[in-house]
Amino acid sequence: MEAVLANLREWFQDRKQHLDLFDETKTGKQDDPLYILGDLVWLSWMVVIVSGVLLMLWYIPTTTGAYRSIEHITYDIPFGWLVRGMHKYGADMLITCITLRIYRMYFAGEYKKPGELSWMVLFASLVLGMISGITGYLLIWNQRAFWAAKVVLTVPTYYDEIPVLGNLGLGRATAYIFLGGPAVGQATITRFYAIHFGISVVFVILAEVLFYRTRRRRLSLSPFVILLVLAFLAYVSFERLTDMGRWANPNRTPLPILSDWYFLALYQLVKYMPPLWAGIAPALLIGYGMAVPFMDRTKETRPLERPFFFVVGVMSLLYFIAFTALIILNIAVISRDPPIILAVTIVLMVFAFIWELLYRRRKAARAARAAQAAGPAARPAQPPRPAAA
């Protein structure tokens, strides 16, 4: 027991040393544009925090005042549109950068030793970013926000139907605690406002502790690039003024109704699945993300040399895009689609598994041949990679 704990502590200390969250100066790939994503995460996060604090000066967190106050910010207050635009598009950029970076780390095998902890923190930050997103857009108190909040917080009530656990009332209690009562109302706005603000405050403090203790840089971009990003965000805010939607109406759900773009694929999934599964599926996805460094035990980092995890990654990307497209086009024949999707998924997973087996067998055979050619005593370890591979 003690030994296990000691091992865990050592593992954690070691990975903490290699925690590469923002500046990515340890990768040695400073000229690769994919490796400014870490800096962009920090930059967009700061944009969101600063603009968010500025928005707080005018925002009124009540069911009657919220919509009006945001309308006021957007159309009446000088440069209010800019602050709100920076907040919204900065947040979109934050989610985009985290997502792209997750895919980069996945396909480049950067979640492998010693990057496990970085990967887990990044993945958790995507989840937290999405929670910030959903708590943030309720604050507008428009139709999209209202129904997103209602749907998302009805999902936990189904956790009480998990067969083996029995009904502990835990799911319902979770929903009530977040909603501040049985339905979306004033208490929900207050609580979401607190969560929305609190997440960033807590994690900014943690990030600052990290910077203080590791002497890592916050941002390794040149001032020109920073200005370029800010100018781009300002331009987008000006060109595509953030819309208001309609005032939330608890008696009417509009058709069609969409969520923010990063929830769309999940939203389509919820249409296809029974509600309990739909509540468990995102948890499984998060679980897969968190556990992937410990499931993929090979040392290979190139995607084609770990076929199974490569196929899973490609599938997640394709499903994300396909489901998003389907929901935007409003296509979902519930009686027809799920069996097809399930069949395709099973076939692809089997294919990936077979590919992985074949690849491993070929690799073993190659290693054996190489060992034979080199002679038994010459070089027992590290067979040379064949040029043809």
Partner: protein
Amino acid sequence: MKLDRRGLLKILTAIPILGGLIALVSPLFRYLKPNDKPWQIFTIAPDLPAGGAQIVGTTAAVPKPWDFFYFTYVQKYVQYDPTGYKAANIPGVAIRLPEKVKFVNAEGFVGYADKDGKPQDTDIVLFQRICPHLGCIFNFIPDWHEVQIGYGGYVPPAWEKHSLMACPCHLSIYNPSYPGDPGNVISGPAPRGARYFQFELRGDNIVVVGAELGGIAWEPRPDPRADREGDAPRDSA
């Protein structure tokens, strides 16, 4: 793991300390969910909404088969903010069906009964429009073609090609005249049929006297405490 005397003593000491910590944390949970009593965090009993009898319309408003009207039934429930009680609307729809049915659903809730609670035949049915799936408000669609066009492309079989109810969020589709279980779900992810109102006909008036629980954000569950609170809308008459 080897358990020596010191380890055992550690564990024995840990139990009261853990208990003390839980006791300390318990009021903190009640900070989040204040209307629970101590140690009753995972109950929904004090959150039961209260309604009462409300006139929602007249039978004259639905003279022909498949005529309908929307209405709202107001319930009060506790909200954890300084305003305390809040009124919440349950949007509903009243429909005249082509033939008489027993207005009882698969969950055993009786929507229209005589004084002894025995289900009676009726051709007027009242559904809560809060989707039992994830709580959006579904619509009554007089023409099923509109369901096909707007709600994902579902084509009902020949015997269901009449007015239907469909939810904009996740495309659950309900058949108000489903044989044996009016309002049952015929397509989509909803786990059950549309919830009922319990109503009476007083002269020309349609009077809602209760609502099947679960309409706001939660499902009812067999909990003896729920009856004791006495706030259940089903009791009101």
